[in-house]
Amino acid sequence: MTSPILRIEDVHKSYGALQVLKGVSLTVQPREVVVLVGPSGSGKSTLLRCINLLNPPTKGRIWLEDQEITAPGVNQDRVRQRIGMVFQEFNLFTHLTALGNVMIGLVKVRKMRKNEARDLAMFELERVGLADRAHYYPAQLSGGQKQRVAIARALGMDPHIMLFDEPTSALDPELTGEVLAVMQKLASEGMTMIVVSHEIGFARQVADRIVFMEGGVVVEEGTPQQMFEQPVHERTRAFLRNITR
């Protein structure tokens, strides 16, 4: 048994009186693809933001590989470099081209030389099939293309794990396929991924494990087969029946 890449232990997150996460524990193995599902407000996105410390947990501990990243004194910027994040709204840097979006982290954070950074950025754009759009600005790209650039930008930092926060929810239906295809390719290359998504086809085909959250806790988890065919909890059953219908 290999050691887990990510270990979340009893994580709580509150905003004032509002408790969003009420004790979530989750362990992710290297190369594993975990799909997080659950009704809106169940805490899925908050959990992702806790993992990369954009919103650190109010209680509980998280380990990334051998390091406890919630420990005091940890360099959070360094931690985030190892965790790629893809957002529902893409959040591409609007003043930079596709290439510039991928390059800037390489130059500013990984301190690479411009030429080196350009080559690697082009390589990452090729990986998501967008080398021919390198010099386009975000406003000139379709939603699907923007999201693929965002994936390339995250990949450029050479992350050990990738978090996807509803990566296809802001896309027109005919554009989700190209993004899911890139994610599927990443999974097959062995990238460890946690994906918040209601794309059932993707979950069935690509996920190693599906985690169902509701009300700030993990209700049930299992393989896609278990979860879709014989979920233990009535709430899981009801939710999955709703989104697969």
């Binding site: 965790i83 957002f87 982290g105 406003a139 965002a150 995250a154």
Partner: protein, 216 residues
Amino acid sequence: MELLQDLLTTFNFIVQGLWVTVSVTAVALTVGLAIGLVMAVARVYGHPALQLAASAYSVVVRAAPVIVIIFILFFVISRYVNLPPFWAGALALGFASGAYQTEIFRGALQAVQPGQMIAARAIGMSRLQAIQSIVLPQALRLALPAWGNEATLVLKDSTLVFAVGVPEVLRRAQQVSARTFEPFLAFGVALLLYLALTLITTQALRWLERRYRLQI
């Protein structure tokens, strides 16, 4: 023929102040830009104490008539440090413009989508790096139209340094008019010079705006 001769002498005398007007304006805008950027970042991203200091500066300076700030620098501060009239005037204008520029850049910083900062942090940038490389470049573009307006206002406010004897366009116009008793000619020439400067400034800034427009 005599009129043309008068016009030429008047123009030749006043136009020597053009460079002073341009210099005062350029110094004031540059000083104001530096102050405005620092204060705006302090206002939006600073520690609460820093935010308070920055907004206090902005409120107090915007409440003070610019001429009062010029007099303070010229009559009070210059008692302690050697400040020639040109620098007292230009720095006072810059100090005043800094307050308005603070507001311009504060608005622009706040208009940048919050997702930009979040995405920058997510790839491992520090807060400062994210402000420098992602938020500020976008905010500067958003600020350009309002900043261009401020530039034309400072250009016109540069006439105020006349009060401390800086030989800029207006002061020279006044000198000519006192000598020739032709105020219409003198101030007419001054007016035309300001018009020309304003047109050049606005055109240059419009070009910048087009060149760096953000597509959203």
